[in-house]
């Protein structure tokens, strides 16, 4: 929060298609440092920004596999570490250990997903000006740019149907 904001232009939009068009126009002009705020996830915006699929899925998969492996490892190792025959079953019984392995698959998978979410959100964090309206009903676009290019960006955003454009320093 204490990070110093880069200066730039902040625009608010009412309409999703206008915002998407503005993003495309900015990208065509070569502006890379664009942050878009939306109250809900939106396919049109995501396409305009042009993201690849989030790598979080890899975390889920690896977490799940790790959980499954540790479930079997934990149960089998603990069984043989102090072998006791209980209820006439083999010391290490794979059939019931499936239950533990399954639960740990889910637990680790979910945990890893959260970690992945936090990690990638942190890595791709965008610092910029912000307005409370963007979690309510408006779409925000923040373009970080040096002072000399601001008039051009301001012009572009204003013409693309922004309801408000302001310069943030």
């Amino acid at each position: 929060m204490n990070k110093t904001h880069p200066g730039g232009i902040l625009a608010a939009y009412q309409h999703v298609d206008a915002a998407a068009a503005a993003i495309k126009a900015l990208k065509a002009k070569g502006y890379r440092d664009v942050t878009v705020y939306t109250p809900v996830p939106n396919v049109e915006i995501a396409q305009a920004v042009g993201h690849k699929v989030s790598p979080v899925r890899l975390w889920t998969l690896l977490g799940g596999l790790l959980g499954c492996a540790s479930g079997f490892a934990l149960t089998l190792w603990m069984s043989y570490d102090w072998p006791l025959v209980v209820g006439g079953k083999p010391v290490g019984s794979v059939i019931p250990y499936v239950v533990i392995a399954f639960e740990l698959t889910i637990l680790f998978g979910a945990g890893a997903t959260i970690l992945g979410l936090l990690f990638h959100s942190w890595r791709t964090r965008q610092a910029g000006a912000y307005d409370g309206r963007f979690t309510d009903d408006q779409i925000g676009i923040f373009v970080a740019c040096p002072v000399e290019r601001r008039p051009a960006v301001e012009e572009l955003l204003r013409h693309s149907g922004a309801v408000e454009v302001r310069v943030e320093t």
Binding site: H15, T35, T38, P39, I106
Partner: protein, 451 residues
């Protein structure tokens, strides 16, 4: 079936995004006097439950009504009941999410909150049940002086893993769903509330990068929660099915318990939503259509439960095993016949009323029905646990179990514990998802939607 007015056709225009934020934020306003009265009642009942628990800790499990061979009684029954209640929340929030059901958006938060607090309540009961509550941590595998590990072949231990995984994952899922909502509320809040939301929204701003990772993570969490919800009540059912007690040793137990769990949970969602939508004035978002969908879920799971009852009785007879046959005869016509018939009528027959559209669309009727289903499902667990144990193989070892005031007080206390959390949560965090309700309404566009 008579045609009655279709609310979705006469419903007012779709709310705008701004109205949604406004209406949901309004639910977090200053609580009314009724709220405090309810809170006071809940605290009194909770105090009673706590007193009974302390009494039991002081004097030992003897103060409960256990009579050998019935050493699993109301506590285990209530444990299963609360774990079961939790299940529908995950069904609505995760499984219906995967099926892209639009109607779930306005009810899922309540269901999910119910899930977390129901598991939180259920988790108390194994501790209460073991008696020496201060040794409860023995349930977990940790390196210890005795150099012993826990017995992974015991279904009770599977329960430890299943229930703790369930509590963790459903809490995470709830929090992840809450973050964008809290951010929306943050912008409207003042004072200490604003501080609270600033911290709990974890810096959410709804940037394109945040959403990009968020929607994926949410999808995978839902995909993980779906098999989890099947497994948890299956594991609970295996606490019983693993032993060879007549009436317990049945392969159908796992899916049967899962269906029963969702059934009781949906009933509880209805029980909670009916007053909630009135008090919070969110009738615009939680409409009769939502109740109709919930009642269809209720009907579906009720039919599965009815099927399982019938198959259980049929196979008990078909098996030709005299113990199995006697156990089921005892359920219906033995000392506990009233419990069995409560369960059969409430769970097997009453939901058949939901075949009528009029019942499905009548909120008072559904509310009453949901109470009966809750009652019936508690008794189902009572019948399975207590009645089976009281009537095993050998007549000299049969016993009759009657719960004492201690069990009843702790049971009442568990409801108070659940409602305490629910009430506190409901006034501090949005009970209707702001983000997801918005999501099903397309964002405003300048141009008409293209072809």
């Amino acid at each position: 079936m008579a045609t009655i007015a279709e609310p979705q056709r006469t419903a007012p225009q779709q709310p705008t995004y701004h109205e949604i934020t406004r209406d949901v934020v309004a639910t977090l306003g200053r609580p009314s006097r009724t709220y405090f009265v309810l809170l006071a009642v809940v605290l009194v009942v909770l105090a009673l439950g706590a007193f009974a628990l302390l009494w039991q800790i002081r004097w030992g499990l003897g103060v409960a009504g256990y009579t050998p061979p019935v050493l699993w009684g109301v506590y285990i029954t209530t444990f299963v009941f609360w774990v079961g209640i939790a299940h529908s929340g995950t069904l609505i929030s995760a499984i219906l999410y995967l099926f892209r059901s639009a109607w779930r958006t306005s009810v899922y938060r309540t269901a999910e909150v119910m899930t977390v607090f129901a598991v939180l309540t259920a988790g108390l009961f194994p501790l209460i049940h073991v008696g020496r509550i201060w040794y409860a941590y023995w349930l977990f595998p940790y390196p210890n002086q005795r150099q012993l590990w826990v017995n992974f072949k015991s279904p009770l231990l599977w329960d430890v893993f299943a229930v703790s995984t369930y509590l963790t994952v459903s809490t995470l899922f709830l929090i992840v769903g809450l973050v964008p909502d809290v951010a929306a509320v943050r912008e409207k809040a003042t004072g200490w509330r604003r501080k609270l939301y600033e911290v709990t929204s974890l810096g959410w701003r709804g940037t394109d990068q945040q959403w990009r990772h968020y929607i994926r993570a949410y999808l995978y969490l839902a995909a993980l929660a779906t098999p989890l919800v099947l497994s948890v009540h299956s594991v609970v059912s295996w606490d019983f099915a693993m032993s060879i007690v007549p009436g317990w040793h049945a392969t159908i137990f796992a899916p049967y318990f899962v269906a029963g769990a969702i059934y009781s949970g949906v009933a509880m969602v209805v029980t909670l939503l009916v007053p909630l939508r009135k008090v919070f004035k969110v009738e615009r978002y939680i409409t009769v259509d939502h109740f109709e969908n919930l009642s269809k879920l209720l009907l579906l799971t009720g039919l599965i439960v009815g099927y399982a009852y019938a198959v259980e009785y049929f196979i008990a007879w078909y098996s030709g095993n005299p113990f199995e046959q006697a156990s089921f005869y005892n359920r219906a016509f033995g000392e506990y016949w009233w419990a069995t018939w409560t369960m059969i009528i409430c769970n097997g027959f009453l939901p058949l009323l939901l075949f009528f559209r009029k019942v499905r669309r009548s909120i008072p009727a559904l509310f009453v029905l949901s109470l009966f289903v809750n009652l019936g499902m508690w008794f189902e667990r009572f019948v399975i646990i207590v009645v089976s144990l009281s009537f095993e193989y050998e007549p000299y070892a049969m016993g009759h179990y009657t719960p004492t005031w201690v069990e009843w007080s702790i049971l009442a206390g568990s409801f108070a514990w659940f409602f305490l959390w629910f009430l506190l949560f409901a006034k501090n965090f949005p009970m209707v998802s702001i983000t997801e309700v918005k999501e099903i309404i397309p964002m405003p566009r300048k141009a008409r939607p293209g072809t």
